[in-house]
Structures are given as structure tokens and as C-alpha cells.
């Protein structure tokens, strides 16, 4: 296509020149040959040929003019002409540009989210070569979970596709020796970990195999914050969890691997190499806490690595059959190993789905906006039919006209895109604050070069979609002299009406999605929780140093004792807030069947609490008793269960006094049920799972949550609480202090964000569709003014006129609504896979027929208004005036 090649010519002057040179050189050669045949000498022939050929330079310039100047000239004229045409109707044009800019702006914002989440490479050298080694247990529906350390070491020894293979886990530690005692997130890393990522230290060195366990590498941030950015810190000693460690290195700024921790990792220590951790008989070796990462060798692909890991996994399974079967009954757990792109693990599957859903939603908005733009340009084009007829009579070819209309459409889209980018730059900031706890990936959210490139692509796409339509329509019409369809004009409105139906259908899909998510969120927020969060503050603790032989409970007991005398604190207890609701602990009932089928149905939540937990949260006691401090280490093992568990497993029996076995690993024990308490609904679910509570004095756990209740309307005395606790253990780090109500509110962040975004898109989509309907009916009405006048003159009633003008559009709108609802119903099959990524329970996302019908009625009323308003306007005109004007 000449336009494109001419464009290329602009940038490839030299190659154009060469072609022209070649052609002229050929001409001169031929002349020389001719003259030599006529008997001239070579020299004479050359001279004469030059003269005869004329000035080659001028010829060349002339030709390049033809190539470039004509194009630029006509382009510039098209642009100026287009701008003038648009400015002739500034109001309508502005409205049309504004609507398109909203569509483009929304796309730019969501693309910047998609780019930050899914596309931007991880900040390490050759990030696409980084993979995660994962385990799958198919029969347990567990995929992409952490391998054990012995498994990872076996992979390192056997793999030919991966090198290096490494692993790490994180924990919080307490650091002394800097400007103040701090608690920080540390990573226990395998010796190859930082090398696998491709990280070099800014100061000092990385770990080697000869380092013991008492060495540490610091992040740039903590080195500056807590150690005054002192370069002499290398080889000095700091205290980590009460043990001296030698600082051997500091990482460069910005280097972090904090994708799996709520806070940045501040220091790195070597992963223990003792047999306890690394051999299969070691007591910690079956813990699945590490993340195993590896680099693909230069010659390997991720598919090869995945296949190799599968083979290695099969071998491990046959070497250690007992490890991959269930302990209770020997059931095969469907174990396999595999390789996953590191980014997949970093992002999590849920976020990916949510981002893609949002992207699809703004895509629909953009299509609706494109249809509006096409309608607008089409209306303009039809006004210009006389101009087109004249221009084609004057010799403008179809290609020339098509180009002119596309240029105008591009001008239109480019202005809208510029406006859209302005909106997006403001909205990205809003989105960043709406995403309350951004992952490090989303921290990079913003408008960058590739986002702008995307917007440019969108602009070109919009130009093609919305500009080609009216352009082709017009060019095809240019042969028709004058305005043949002045009186009726019905047939040609079919394309416009089909566009309306598509717009309506797309906006209905978005409306249904928004309503679905909003009602899901409402349902989640309206379902009773079973506890009172008011006045409760959560503080997190981590037992420092070596654990007490009596378990962690004894220490916490002392904390609770001192807190009881702090003024303003009415109650204090240990125990996680009522947030986790994952029924992940299998239990068996003593005296009942414990085969696979039974056990797979017997799962419950599992929580360590102190006696005042229930009273503090207002959870009612239904039967028996709750814990007291005499339910200690040496007393009989006791548990409290919730109502759901009591009713499900002892429907006709008193559960008090029954015994169950529960807990995993070292926590596995048999305990007697002493009480039944009210149900507490986990924040992310509508249904309450069975729940087991166990006494903080009978189970040991270094990480604890302290709940403190203050009288209504009073600020919690945080400083007094910290002070009281530090009278017991001076170096106790206390962190993550938040009101329970804020924690609960935060748990609905994702669904609220999704509701807001989808809701805004739906409103935008409906507004755009409305505008589309309004434009079309206005257009049809305007075209049929004379017909209407004629009909009224011969006795048509206003009703007849409204029916004549409005009914076709209403009919097409109804088709659009029907298609939209059907499409939405069909899309409902995606709910199981997207619900989780929206942070909503699957059961809350149901198409509720009355709600949908109500939404559609509201929608239809709005469309009705958009149809009737312009049609009614036609009635206000006196028929006589129009007919006389003809």
C-alpha cells in the first residue's frame, strides 16, 4: 500500500535514493550504448548521454518530491481540514472526544496494572530464566506448593536442566546492636540463593559453603536506617535473636525478594545445614516452608525442566514411598514435582485472574466507546456526502478519500488518547491508594513507556475500528449522486442499530458483573459474624530467643497478668483474631471410623487461645465450659469446639466429654471436648467451618496475636501496654498494632476494589451506550423530520410518531439486553475460577433473578428515555414549517 511505503520512504531516504540512482544510471547506460552504436567514442557518448538525460539530480529530487512531499502535504491538509470540520460543531465534538477519552483512559489505567502485575520483568538479570521448583499433590488438590529441603537437595544433585538450584524461607527476628532494638523479617537462604537471583553485594561478599551459621548479610535499607550506612560494619558483630552474628555483606539498594512477606526482607542468614534440616530423618525436614528457586541452564527450556522434575519426583516417590502416602491409611497422595515460572508464584494465581477480568472489562468499555465514535464519525460523514460526491467527481480516488477519513478519525482518536492519558495519570494514583496493601510488583504501578505504547496501539485500533466503518460506507456511496434516501433513510440505519445492540449487550454484561460482585460483597458484609470487634486492638508478638521448656504459653501468661492491671485495658487475651477460616486440620473422633472417606470430610479450623478470648470477642458459650489457666501443660488435654462442629458430628449427642485426635506433626494429640461456643464466621466466607480451640498453655507457638479490649470510645493505651509487656521481657518486639475493625475492613479490600472498579466500568459503559442510543435516535429523527411532518399533516397522532421513530431502536435495544443477559449467564461458569481472586466466597456470587430483572428494568427505563427524548423533540416542530421549507 503506497501510504505505508511512503511513510517508510521518509525514514529510508537512502534506499529510495539508491533505487532512483539505479534507474537513472540504467537510463544513462542505455543512452551511451545507443550513441556508441551510432559510431561515437565512449567518451563522446557519455558526454552526450549526460546532456541528453538532463540533470539527474533534479530528476531525483523531483521524484522524491513525488514520494514524500505529496504525502506530507496531503496529510497536513487532511489534518487541518479535519480539525476545521470538527471545530465546526465544538460541543458535539467535545462530548464525543470526552467519551472516547474515558474509554482510553480506563484502558490505560488497567493496562498499567496489568503491566506491573504480569508483564514487567522481575528486577533480576535474565528473569525469564528463573523458575520455581514446586510439588503437587493431585489427590489433595494442592498445586505449586513448597518442596521440602531434602527434595530440593535431591533436585540439585540430579538436575541437568537447572543450575544453580537454591531455596530460602523467612521468619521474623529481633536485631540488637544497631541504633535501637528492632524486629525485622529475615531470610534464611541457601548458600547459592543470591547467586541464583544474580545479585552482587554492594559491600563485602556473599555466603560461601565455609561460612558457619553466625554470619549475616544486610539489606541496604536496614544498613542505612539502623547502622548509619557505616562501611566499616563489615566483619563487625550484631545480635540476631540473642546470638552474635558477623556482618559479611550489604546488598545494593533496591535488591529485595520480598514477594512472599508482608514487609521487606532486611537481613539474610545462612539456611541451617545440619541433618535436622537436610536429611529425611531430620525433625524439620518434612516442613514445607521453603521456596525453591533455580535458574534454567542456557540450553534448557522450562518444559524440559518440568519434564525432568517430573522424572525426579517419580524416582523420589519410589525411593521413599512412605513419604508420599498418607500416614493413616497409606492412600497415594498423587505426588509429582514440576517447574513453574517464578513470576507465576510471585504473583499468585488469584491476582492474575483478577487483573485479566478487569482488563476484559475495560476492553468491553473501549468497544462501546469505539461504537460511539463510529456513530459520531458516521453522522459527520453523512453530512458530508455532498462534499464527497464533488470531490470524487473532481478525481479523488477511493484510496484518497479513505485516507482522508482515516486521517480525521486518527486525529479524533489521538486527541481523545491524549486526554485519556491525562485522566489515567490522575487515576493511577487513585488506583494505587485503593490497592491498600500493594505487593512489591504493584508498587511499580504507573504510566511508563510501555503503557504509553499500549495507548498508542489502542489509538490506532480505535481509528481502524471506528474510522474504517464510516469511511468505507461513504466511499461506497460516493457514486450515488446527491441524496437519494432523503425521505426514508431507514435501510441504512440497520448498521447503526446493530451497533446499538452490541453496545447494549456489552454494557449489560458489565452491569451484571458489577451487580454480581456488589451483591456478593454486600452479602459478605451483611452476614452476621458472631463476634464483637468494637474496642478490640490486635498486636502481634514473637517470642524471642530460645523457647521456654514449658512452652511459649508460660511467657504469654505473664504478659496477660501484667496487662490486667494496665488502666484502660478491660480484657486481654492471646489468640489469632477471628480471621482465618481455613478448615485445614484433619481430625478423627475417638471410637468412630477413621477410614479415608470419613477423614477427608473431617476437617476443622484450629486456633490457640487463652481463657478470656471468648469473653473479649463476645463469643457466647453454648454448653460446658471454656478454658481456665488450670488447663495447663500437665493437666488433661482439652479443647473447645464451635456450634457447627457440634451439630455436624454429634447431632443427637452431647459432644461434651467426647475425645478427638487433631493437630499435625508435634501438635498431634488426643483431647477431650469441654465446651461448645458460638459460631464465628471467617471474614472471607459465608459459611462457618467446624472450629477447634485449644489452650495456649497446652500448645506452643512462638508467633502470637495479643487482643486487647478497651472501653467503648477510648483510645487503646498502646504505650502503657508495650511498657507493661517489657517489664516482663525487655527485648520483646511488639508490632503490627491495628484495631480489629480495621483488620476486618482490610480483609474485604479486594472485593471492595473489584466492586468499585467493575461498578465504575459498568456505569461508564451504560452512559456510553445511552449516548449511543441517543445519537442514533437523534440521527434517525433528524433524517425523517420531513416524513414525520408529512405524516402529521395527514393525521398521524404523536403516539404514532413516537412509535415510528422509537420502536426500531427499542426493539434493537431489547435484542441487546437479551444477548447481554444470555452472555452474562454463560459467563457465570467462570465464577468458580474467579471468585477466589475477587476475595469473595463462591457461594456469594450467584445470579439472583430478582436483582438482575430489577437492574434490567432500570436499564430499559434509561434507554427508553434516551430513545424518547429526541423523538419527542420531533413532535414539537410545526409540520407546516418543514413542509414549506421543502
Amino acid at each position: 500500500m503506497p501510504a505505508l511505503s511512503r511513510f517508510v520512504n521518509l525514514f529510508r531516504r537512502r534506499s529510495v535514493d539508491r533505487e532512483l540512482d539505479d534507474e537513472l544510471a540504467f537510463h544513462v547506460e542505455m543512452l551511451i550504448e545507443k550513441y556508441m552504436k551510432q559510431g561515437l567514442t565512449r567518451h563522446e557518448a557519455e558526454q552526450r548521454a549526460r546532456r541528453h538525460a538532463g540533470n539527474t539530480v533534479i530528476a531525483k529530487e523531483d521524484m522524491r518530491e513525488v514520494h514524500i512531499m505529496m504525502w506530507i502535504d496531503s496529510l497536513a491538509r487532511d489534518l487541518v481540514y479535519g480539525a476545521r470540520m470538527f471545530l465546526r460543531q465544538p460541543g458535539t465534538t467535545f462530548l464525543a472526544v470526552l467519551t472516547l477519552s474515558l474509554g482510553i483512559g480506563a484502558n490505560t489505567v488497567i493496562y498499567s496494572l496489568l503491566h506491573a502485575a504480569l508483564l514487567r520483568p522481575l528486577p533480576f538479570p535474565s528473569p525469564d530464566r528463573l523458575v520455581a521448583v514446586v510439588d503437587n499433590f493431585a489427590t489433595q488438590s494442592q498445586f505449586d506448593i513448597s518442596p521440602t529441603v531434602p527434595e530440593t537437595l535431591d533436585v540439585r544433585a540430579a538436575s541437568r536442566t537447572l543450575d544453580p538450584v537454591s531455596f530460602f524461607d523467612t521468619r521474623d527476628v529481633q536485631i540488637n546492636g544497631g541504633t535501637e532494638p528492632v524486629r525485622a523479617i529475615s531470610a534464611r537462604i541457601d548458600v547459592d540463593f543470591l547467586r541464583t537471583l544474580g545479585v552482587q553485594p554492594a559491600l563485602g561478599r556473599l555466603f560461601t559453603a565455609r561460612d558457619g551459621e553466625r554470619v549475616v548479610i544486610l539489606s541496604d535499607a536496614i544498613w542505612r536506617r539502623n547502622f548509619g550506612a557505616d562501611p566499616a560494619l563489615i566483619d563487625r558483630t550484631i545480635i540476631v535473636n540473642a546470638a552474635p552474628h558477623t556482618v559479611i555483606g550489604v546488598l545494593p539498594p533496591g535488591v529485595n525478594f520480598d514477594y512472599f512477606t508482608p514487609e521487606p526482607i532486611e537481613l539474610y542468614v545462612p539456611y541451617p545445614t545440619s541433618a535436622e534440616y537436610t536429611s529425611r530423618s531430620g525433625s524439620f525436614s518434612s516442613v514445607r516452608r521453603v521456596l525453591a528457586i533455580a535458574r534454567l541452564r542456557d540450553t534448557a527450556t522450562i518444559e524440559q525442566a518440568d519434564a525432568e522434575l517430573r522424572t525426579i519426583g517419580q524416582r523420589l516417590k519410589s525411593d521413599h514411598p512412605q513419604l508420599y502416602r498418607r500416614g493413616t491409611d497409606g492412600q497415594d497422595l498423587g505426588f509429582s514435582m514440576g517447574a513453574a515460572p517464578l513470576r507465576q508464584l510471585v504473583l499468585g494465581r488469584g491476582a492474575r485472574t483478577a487483573v485479566l477480568v478487569l482488563f476484559a472489562a475495560v476492553g468491553l468499555v473501549l468497544l462501546i466507546a469505539c461504537a460511539n465514535t463510529a456513530q459520531f464519525l458516521m453522522a459527520r460523514a453523512i453530512e458530508r456526502r455532498p462534499e464527497v460526491v464533488i470531490r470524487s467527481a473532481l478525481g479523488a480516488g477511493a484510496g484518497r478519500l479513505l485516507r482522508q477519513f482515516l486521517t480525521e478519525a486518527f486525529l479524533f482518536a489521538a486527541v481523545a488518547a491524549a486526554l485519556g492519558v491525562l485522566q489515567a495519570s490522575a487515576l493511577v494514583g487513585v488506583l494505587r491508594t485503593l490497592i491498600a496493601s500493594p505487593s512489591p510488583l504493584l508498587g511499580q504501578l504507573g504510566l511508563n513507556v510501555s503503557v504509553i505504547l499500549f495507548t498508542v496501539m489502542v489509538t490506532v485500533l480505535v481509528t481502524l475500528i471506528s474510522g474504517l466503518f464510516p469511511a468505507v460506507h461513504l466511499v461506497r456511496q460516493r457514486a450515488i449522486g446527491g441524496d437519494a434516501s432523503r425521505l426514508t433513510g431507514t435501510t441504512r440505519s440497520r448498521t447503526r442499530h446493530a451497533m446499538i445492540a452490541a453496545q447494549v449487550a456489552a454494557s449489560v454484561v458489565l452491569l451484571v458483573a458489577a451487580v454480581l460482585v456488589a451483591t456478593g460483597l454486600r452479602q459478605l458484609q451483611d452476614t452476621p459474624t458472631g463476634y464483637e470487634p468494637e474496642g478490640v486492638t490486635m498486636l502481634r508478638l514473637r517470642a524471642a530467643g530460645r523457647s521456654d521448656p514449658r512452652g511459649t504459653g508460660a511467657g504469654y501468661q505473664q504478659y496477660l497478668q501484667v496487662l490486667s492491671s494496665v488502666p484502660g485495658v478491660s480484657l486481654a487475651s492471646i489468640g489469632d483474631g477471628p480471621l482465618q477460616g481455613f478448615a485445614g486440620t484433619e481430625f478423627s473422633i475417638v471410637g468412630r471410623a477413621n477410614d479415608t472417606a470419613t477423614l477427608s470430610l473431617q476437617r476443622s479450623g484450629w486456633l490457640i487461645v487463652s481463657p478470656d478470648y471468648f469473653k473479649l470477642l463476645g463469643i457466647p458459650l453454648r454448653a460446658g465450659r471454656t478454658f481456665t489457666d488450670s488447663d495447663g501443660m500437665d493437666a488433661a488435654q482439652v479443647i473447645v469446639i464451635n456450634d457447627v462442629m457440634a451439630r455436624r458430628y454429634w447431632p443427637d449427642q452431647n459432644p461434651i466429654g467426647q475425645q478427638i485426635r487433631s493437630g499435625t506433626g508435634p501438635r498431634l494429640r488426643t483431647a477431650t471436648i469441654i465446651g461448645v461456643v458460638g459460631d464465628v464466621r471467617p471474614t472471607h466466607r459465608l459459611e462457618v467451618p467446624p472450629q477447634i480451640y485449644t489452650s495456649y498453655l497446652q500448645q506452643s507457638e512462638p508467633n502470637a496475636t495479643l487482643l486487647v479490649k478497651t472501653a467503648a470510645g477510648q483510645e487503646p493505651p498502646i504505650d502503657a501496654i508495650k511498657h507493661a509487656i517489657r517489664t516482663v521481657v525487655p527485648e520483646q518486639a511488639i508490632f503490627d498494632i491495628r484495631p480489629l475493625s480495621a483488620v476486618i475492613a482490610q480483609s474485604t479490600n479486594t472485593p471492595r476494589l473489584m466492586t468499585r472498579l467493575l461498578g465504575s466500568f459498568a456505569i461508564l459503559a451504560i452512559a456510553l451506550a445511552m449516548l449511543g442510543v441517543y445519537t442514533v435516535v437523534s440521527y434517525v429523527t433528524a433524517r425523517r423530520t420531513k416524513e414525520v411532518a408529512l405524516r402529521r399533516a395527514i393525521g398521524a397522532t404523536p403516539n404514532d410518531v413516537l412509535r415510528l421513530l422509537g420502536v426500531p431502536t427499542l426493539r434493537w435495544t431489547a435484542v441487546g439486553i437479551a444477548i447481554g443477559v444470555l452472555a452474562a449467564a454463560w459467563l457465570m461458569r467462570l465464577v468458580p475460577s474467579v471468585a477466589n481472586s475477587f476475595g469473595l466466597p463462591q457461594e456469594s456470587l450467584r445470579l439472583d433473578p430478582p436483582t438482575i430483572v430489577a437492574a434490567m428494568i432500570v436499564y430499559a427505563v434509561i434507554v427508553g428515555l434516551a430513545v424518547l427524548a429526541p423523538a419527542a423533540r420531533a413532535l414539537r416542530v410545526q409540520p407546516g414549517i418543514i413542509l414549506r421549507a421543502e
Binding site: F26, H27, M30, E33, A53, A59, M63, V66, H67, M70
Partner: protein
């Protein structure tokens, strides 16, 4: 674009080139120039400086199309052929031209 006289001359050259191409297979620029001279018995001489811009302009307009090939003496040359649009254009121009010349002829004879 440009003054009227130049346009008319260009129009004439276009007409000649299209006419030559309409009765031949692909031809390169030199052959077109030679052919015009030959048929006009050396009355009409075509300069490279006006022939090639004309050819390129007509390529842009879609009346002719070009491709690189090998000439009869084994050199690389650009060959031009007339397109369907070009043939229509030629018919228009020919009609226009004969109308014009006969009108001029009538004026000369009868005035």
C-alpha cells in the same frame, strides 16, 4: 498544484506514456522514451528529467505499476506496466485529447 501550463504538458506526457504502455508488455523507462521518439519520428524527445518523475507520479496514482527485472542486455532495470485504472484513464485522456484537437482543428480551418 503547479502552474497550468506545466500541468497540461505533464498531462500530454502521461497520455503518451500510457498509450505506449497500453500496447506493450512491461517496458523500462529508456524503452518508453525510445519508443516515443521512434513513433513520433524523432519529433517528440523525452528527457529523463521529466519522464521518471512522470512515471513515479503515475505509479503513485495507481495508473502504472513497476517492478524490478532484468533488461534485454542483462542489466537490472525497473519495468512499468499499465493497470486497469491506467487503461480507463487512457481512454478518458484519449477522448479528451481528440475532442480538443478536433476542436482546435475546426477553429483553425473555419475561423
Amino acid at each position: 498544484m503547479g502552474d497550468n501550463k506545466k500541468d497540461q504538458l505533464q498531462g500530454t506526457l502521461d497520455l503518451l506514456v500510457l498509450r505506449i504502455l497500453s500496447s506493450a508488455e512491461a517496458m523500462h523507462g529508456f524503452a518508453i522514451a525510445e519508443r516515443i521518439e521512434q513513433v513520433s519520428k524523432d519529433v517528440l524527445r523525452v528527457e529523463a528529467g521529466s519522464l521518471y518523475p512522470a512515471l513515479h507520479r503515475m505509479t503513485e496514482a495507481g495508473w502504472v505499476k513497476s517492478s524490478w527485472g532484468v533488461s534485454e542486455n542483462n542489466r537490472r532495470a525497473r519495468f512499468y506496466t499499465i493497470t486497469a485504472i491506467g487503461r480507463r484513464r487512457l481512454a478518458d485522456e484519449e477522448a479528451h485529447w481528440s475532442a480538443l484537437t478536433s476542436a482546435v482543428g475546426r477553429v483553425l480551418k473555419n475561423a
